[in-house]
Every structure is written in C-alpha cells, then in structure tokens.
Amino acid sequence: MPENINEFYQNLPDTIAVWKKADPPSFYTPANLSTYIDGGAELFISYNFKNALSMKYTDSADNEIVVDIFDMGSAPDAFGVFAHSRETIDDRFGQGSEYAAGLLTFWKDRYYVSILAYPETAEKREVVFKLGQAIAGGIKSEGALPPIIALLPAENLLPETVRYFHHDIWLNSFYFVSNENVLNIGNDTPTALGKYRQDGATFFLLLVRYPDAARAEAAGRQFRQKLLDGAADGMRPTKEGRWTGLQCRDDLVSVVFNAPDAPTVRALFAKIQK
C-alpha cells in the first residue's frame, strides 16, 4: 500500500488509451478541502478525512477524467464515507464499489476513491474501469469493516443500506428521527444503521456503541424522554401506527424505527449479538 498519497500519482500510468496524465496533481487537507469540493467537504471531515490527491487525465480535445483519492486515516472511515451514498452492492473494485453514469467510487483499506468522467461515454467508461483496477491493485492490503456493523442482524437486512458514522448529522439517513442529537452521537460513538424488509414492511435498526455503560444509559434516557414520552419499557407507537423501540444493554444502545408492531421490535433486539 502506498505509504504516502503522493505515490498514487507516481505509480499510475502516464497514458491509458488516448488519455494522458495531466501535471501536476493537487493535494488537499481538512483546512482547504472546501476549496476543491464546493459544499461537500464537511461530509469528509465528519469521517476524519486526512488528505486527498486529485489528478486528471485529458485527451486531445481537453476532455477530462478526474481521479480523486482520499486518505480517510482508517478503513472504517473509508467504508463509512463510501457507504454514505451507496445504493447497490458491487464488488468489482476494491472492497466495494459503485458505478453510475460516469462516476466510479470504491473503497479499499483506508482509501476512498472516485473516478469521474462526465458526460459518460462507453470509451471513457472503459478507461475509468482500467484506472479503477490500477488504483485498487496498487493498494495491496484490505481493511477491516467497522466492528459495530457486524452487530446488525443479517436476517432481512438489505446490505446496500448499511451505513456507518460517528457524527449526529447522519442520524436521519433513511428515516427522520430528530433535528437534535438525541442520542449524543459523537466521534467516540461508532454508529451503524441498516434497513430491514420483512413481509413487505420496511424498518430500521440503529446501533450506537458508547465508551461506557453510563453514557449509553444517559443517551437512552434522553431518547426516551424526548421521543418516547418517557416510556419506561422503551416502546411507543407513532401516530402513523408504526413502532419505535429502544434498548440499552451495557455500552450499546439499539433503536428500531418504523416497525410494523412491537413483537417485530423485540424480535430484532433479540437477534443483536453482544
């Protein structure tokens, strides 16, 4: 694996088909990423972004293919930022990838990679895929998924919906929970979210791991007070007739949203491995 993000530029081929590597690349840190990613830098910073390299390939007509490689500092954060907007399961590149209309993204070890070729053509898509293979091949090691992901029960889980984060702003992925940080999610509370489908019903499981049981209990208490009308058993139907359930167990808080009934909530809680 490259020790330094600069090595990607040196190691990538100078030409692919009619596309030539433009010079020089650009480098970004948390302090200046917003000068490159207009309006999206905060997403990366919320996943502890370290630095990034951006380089281009151009053809004779000055069309561009843009390669961005983000060093997220850890495999869990590289997975997290990749999975943030994932819609499908595709393992052709790295440890998980997605291609849509000229844009390839994938993650491998601590790197999140984007190769962008708008507007899409068949010829550019082929070059994008070759670049993807070259970059993924240059990262020799694989990284571990965030451990909390493994606690999401696999039965009825839609794998493309698995999300990982440690910033409260992503609490409302898939299902609106609150405009407030009702579970005190922060950089030291790894969080997993997944969507489940069972007998036509769609519901969600959120898992938050706290540094200790006291913080987990405090977060659970706050959630019960603010969103469950203080329900002592942590279960409450919504006005739409769906069920929200909360469980605190040691340092882990689990919340089920939008379940069709209380038994579904309890059954899902029972499947969570400690």
Partner: protein, 298 residues
Amino acid sequence: MKPRKSISRRQFIKSASAAAIGTTLLRSGQETAVPVKIGKSRVVLVRDLNVLDENGNPQYAVVEEMLDSGIKALTGMPDPQSAWKTIIKPDDIVGIKNNRWPYLRTTAEVENSIKKRTIEVGVKEANISVDDLGVLQNPVFQKATALINARPMRSHHWSGVGSLIKNYIMFIPEPDSIHPDSCADLASIWDLPVVKGKTRLNVLVMFTPQFHSFGPHSFNPKYVWKYFGLMLGFDPVAVDATGLRIIEAIRREYFAEERPLNPPAKHIAIADSKYHLGTADPQKIELVKIGYDKESFV
C-alpha cells in the same frame, strides 16, 4: 410574523394589506402592483417543456418567456417591463447573485434574461453585476441597492438542499462559520447590512434540479430530474419551502419509498420560525402555476 425591512418582504406585506382592504397598491414613483391573497406569500411556478433542447441545454428565448410570465404573475402587472419597474428603479445598483457550481449553474440564460429586463428599467449596465464567490470584493455588490437572488435547486450533503436562502452564504467572509448544525442558521446572513433589505426578487431555477447527492462532488447525472421549471417569489423561504416539497416528492417517486433528505433541510423551517425571514408553511403560501402541469409534485 415579525415584519422586516427587506423590500421583498415589505412588498409582500403591503400587497397583502392592499388586497385585504380592496385597494390598489402603489409604490412611490413606480407601477401598480399586486393583489395577493390575504396574509400569504405568493410563489409563481412556471414550467415549459421547451426550455431544454435535446441535449438538456436551456433555450434563451424560452427562459426569457418563462421569466416574463413569472414576474407578471408575481406582480400582477400586464407586461414584463412594467412588472420589473415595480421592483427595480433606474438609479438602483443591482447585484445578481448567481451560483457557479460547475455541475448545476444558475445558467447564463437566466442571468442574461434578468440583466436584460433590469437594463430596460433604466439601470445603467455599469451598475449591474452578476457574481457568486466574489460578491464581497465586487464593487457593484459593495454599493448595491438591490439584489436579485437566482440559483438552481439541488440536494446538498451538509444542508439538505442548496437553494435561495443558502445562496447568500458568500456574503459572509468565512462561509464555513455557518456550517455547524447542518447550516441551521443560514437565514441569519439575510440580516447582515450587506444584504438586509436589498433583495427584490428570488428566482429558483428548477430546469433540472438535483434530488440526491452521490459521490465526493455530490453530483451525478443519474440524480437530476428534468422538471422544466422556474420559480419566482419575493419571499425566499416560501420559494425554498415549495422547492423542497418538489424535491422530496421527486425522491419519493424515484426511490419508490419515503427517502428523507439526509441531513434534513431544516434551515428552511428555521428561517421561518427563528429568523422570521418568510413563511415555510404551505397554508400561508399562494402557489400560482403557469404552463406545463403534469408531474409538478405540488
């Protein structure tokens, strides 16, 4: 709702009051305007299937017609020239705040249509400027007596959506300072002297709104929707709130399920409830629709 000094806001309130007492509203030295339903913010949605060519590029003549139709409906005036005279004076210094995001711009067609009508009012061309990132350094914007706020609607990784309220973020020296809590306090910018009371018109470009963010640059052609629309209003919160309803409905249609924006675009509701910049309540918005009306989602 607390009245503010912005001309757009004042005009809205005067319009509502005039309608309430059944009189004709006159602004000093300008044309007649504007019956608006009592206590409501008027939002005009204009749609035309011909606004995009086969490559998805805006057609100038159609854009101009849409803008003209919109401003007439917004002001109640019979022609675009008299409509523009209700909001711009010949001695105004006019900043047209656009958005230059490379994947989805305000578009030159919208900017030039606005500029043309502004010049027809009698404003000197030297007293008009179109700018985004450089507004604080731009001499015209520094002296501006009138602002026209024009930008496209898109989903946004940090604020839910980027639309009219957010478009003034470049009027603060450190835009990052407004980022905490997913840009909840964007409307506070509208109270700063550099913009306060100057906004005469808001134009939300909905030709191809982006309804979902994907990838590091937040953009993918897969997630833009050909909507063929343009929205106008004096109340930026009302226009944004209406645009947000459309984006949410497009997401529902595309994903075939409830898929809330992540994060929620709460700054729009907060612009109403905390900053009283306008109304986000659909019950307090008079929506006027012109042109193509299939799949309008509102």
